[in-house]
């Protein structure tokens, strides 16, 4: 895990969170794209008279799956092993990386082609493979761009949402020695040409898992570009990375989830390719690595369990007013947006990411958009409650002192008047300050203070008109 990404505390987080706000171009195109996606998804969903019933059903099935997670994982493992696949469990990212490297060594792998996998981002897998002398190539176009640029994805479905066509043209010019172009068709063809070579030569392919079906031992992967199809069928070895929560009880439940995921993720009725993989064949070996990496922390907290229902569609990101302004990096780790604000503190610990649940206006748009009805806003409030009572960046002496003072001031008319008098004087002094210190400074540097009335406006009004107000 890159060290800087773990630093989600205090000023560092604030700096990261506000960075996007001062880059009008980047943040504007990201916000507009996210908004377009969100609107498009709603139109596609509006065609379904049963949309709400679908969501409720999916929520119930996920609830069952998580409540029977141990049994379903064992059933999944038994059924997929019977089809010749090898299942490996990993407690954390490090162990998962060790599994991948061991498989790679066993099959003398030199090049790996990777389809999209959020779990592999958690593992920082590309760095680990490169360090072991193995070429690792992201093949999803967005992931490929982000990897070439040496960046992190800004979005879980469209990782390069922040790059303009001209940015991509410059990137290809610099990294691939291609003549500059900002035409989408030609840019896409350049990526196609370069990656084709690798698809047919690679010794190992990797993918994520959208759904692991327990009663049949099926792995389901959805995509649009064909890169997951190529990554999993061209090389002799396919390694699929799966979080423990990805298991669903029955093949009978799959059509429902496929419809919900496609319509909420990219606003399609069905993704271009929906793959169902059935184990190993003599010339194609399948490995499945099942990763915990903090997910069992969520199970420990009954009120937080719904965070494990997530099917990674990205709808809550697109609809979130905070995400639209800040972009994905502000959230500091693999999972951005509202769902990131509830998953990251569980997976990394509140002490590291306890500030994230506060980066929300609690407007609730995310919960409305969620196809599996995760009550994201309530989850955020729950985590805020925990963050102020457990070791976390927001549980500081200063923070507690401020709230104590606030509570004192609010609990008596004289105290209240006294405080307001002091605040009025204080605020009027701000423009004369030679410097703007600390977190308050971040506010005053970018904004004009409103005019402060000389006298308490409401009290003055009440003295004049109070008698006219009907009780």
């Amino acid at each position: 895990m890159i060290q800087e990404n773990l630093d989600l505390q205090g000023a560092q987080f604030l700096k990261r969170e506000t960075a996007g706000l001062y880059e009008p171009h980047g943040s504007k195109s990201l916000g507009e794209s996210a908004e377009r996606s969100s609107k498009h998804n709603r139109e596609i969903q509006a065609e379904i008279p049963h949309w709400q019933a679908w969501r409720a059903a999916a929520n119930q099935i996920k609830d069952y799956a998580i409540a029977n997670l141990d049994k379903l994982l064992v059933e999944f493992e038994r059924n997929i092993t019977a089809r010749g696949a090898t299942v490996l469990y990993a407690e954390n990212a490090e162990e998962a990386n060790r599994h991948v490297l061991r498989i790679a060594r066993e099959h003398q792998v030199k090049t790996v082609v990777k389809a999209k996998s959020m779990v592999s981002e958690e593992m920082e897998l590309n760095h680990k493979l490169e360090a072991a002398g193995i070429r690792a190539l992201e093949t999803d176009l967005g992931e490929y761009l982000v990897q070439l640029a040496g960046q992190r994805p800004v979005h879980i479905v469209t990782p390069a949402l922040h790059l303009s066509a001209a940015d991509v043209g410059r990137l290809f010019q610099e990294k691939l020695n291609e003549p500059f172009t900002d035409e989408h068709r030609r840019l896409t063809d350049i990526a196609r040409r370069h990656l084709r070579e690798d698809f047919v030569r690679a010794d190992m392919g990797m993918s994520g898992v959208n759904f692991g079906v327990a009663d049949t031992g099926t792995i389901c992967v959805v995509e649009n570009e064909g890169n997951a199809g190529l990554s999993t069928s061209a090389p002799k070895v396919h390694v699929a990375l799966m979080g423990i929560e990805k298991v669903i009880p029955s093949i009978q439940h799959l059509p429902l989830f496929l419809n919900l995921l496609a319509r909420s993720g990219t606003g399609q009725k069905l993704t271009t390719y929906t793959h169902l993989f059935h184990g190993s064949t003599p010339d194609r070996k399948l490995y499945v690595i099942i990763l915990d990496n903090g997910r069992t922390n969520i199970l420990k907290d009954p009120a937080a369990r719904m965070a494990l229902f997530c099917i990674r569609c990205g709808a809550c990101l697109n609809t979130c007013p905070v995400y639209r302004r800040t972009g994905g990096w502000a959230y500091g780790w693999v999972y951005p947006g509202p769902i990131g604000s509830i998953i990251t503190p569980h997976l990394l610990g509140l002490d590291k990411a306890g500030a994230l649940p506060f980066a929300s206006s609690l407007c609730g748009a995310c919960a409305e958009a969620c196809p599996v009805k995760i009550d994201i806003a309530h989850q955020l409030v729950h985590l805020r409650h925990r963050a102020v009572n457990e070791p976390s960046p927001v549980n500081s002496i200063l923070e507690r002192l401020v709230w104590k003072m606030w509570a004192w001031a609010m609990c008596g008319p004289i105290r209240y008047r006294l405080t307001m008098w002091a605040v009025r004087i204080g605020v009027r002094l701000v423009p004369f300050l030679p410097w703007h210190p600390g977190k308050l400074g971040a506010w005053t540097r970018g904004r004009k203070l409103p005019e402060v009335p000389k006298r308490p406006a409401f009290r003055a009004w009440w003295r004049k008109h109070g008698s006219e107000v009907q009780p």
Binding site: Q60, A67, P249, Q268, L270, T271, D292
Partner: protein, 215 residues
Amino acid sequence: MSSRDAILSRIRTSLAHDAERPLPPVPEVWPRENPTVEQMAGRFQRELEEVHGEVVRCAGMDEARAKLAELAAQESWDAIGAMDRPLCREVCTALGTDRPSWARADWTPQSMAALSAGVIEADCLLADTGTSMVACGRPEERLLCYLPPACVVVATADRLVEHLPAAWPAIAPRVADPQLRGEFVFITGPSRTADIEKILILGVHGPKRLIVLLT
């Protein structure tokens, strides 16, 4: 303790106080209109064209054969690979004796990269999404779906079903068969991306054209 046992035991401890709950039923919320084959064929065509796929309706096998030969000549497909299935065999006969080449176990991804088109057979067509379900056993059959720049799907109209849930009673038992290997893939249009500025581009890694010959 192995990682497997450690993870499972942590899960069990956390779930220890959970009440038993029944397996949720498959929700009966799918609208069913039971359309005719002709209605489904029309819907299939509209939906697939919406996602930039192409549908060629053929009155019979002879027309399908002629259409494929015409396409091959028009697009100068010099190397065509095809699944070795009865329907593919029938449709490909007009292409000439040396063509196409039938998918074989000694094909490698490198050798297949030279193919200009792949001919595959759909087991089932979903009308309301324009989707073709292709059951691929061997890796070279799978690669035929993704590697050549053009993908021709052949299917008969009696394989049309209303939508995914309507197709499921036939598909689910096949998926549940422990002897099954390889891949079932649901293909809805040509390969596409919108990763640069959300602008739709067809044919990024997979086929640039998807043509369904529907007889």
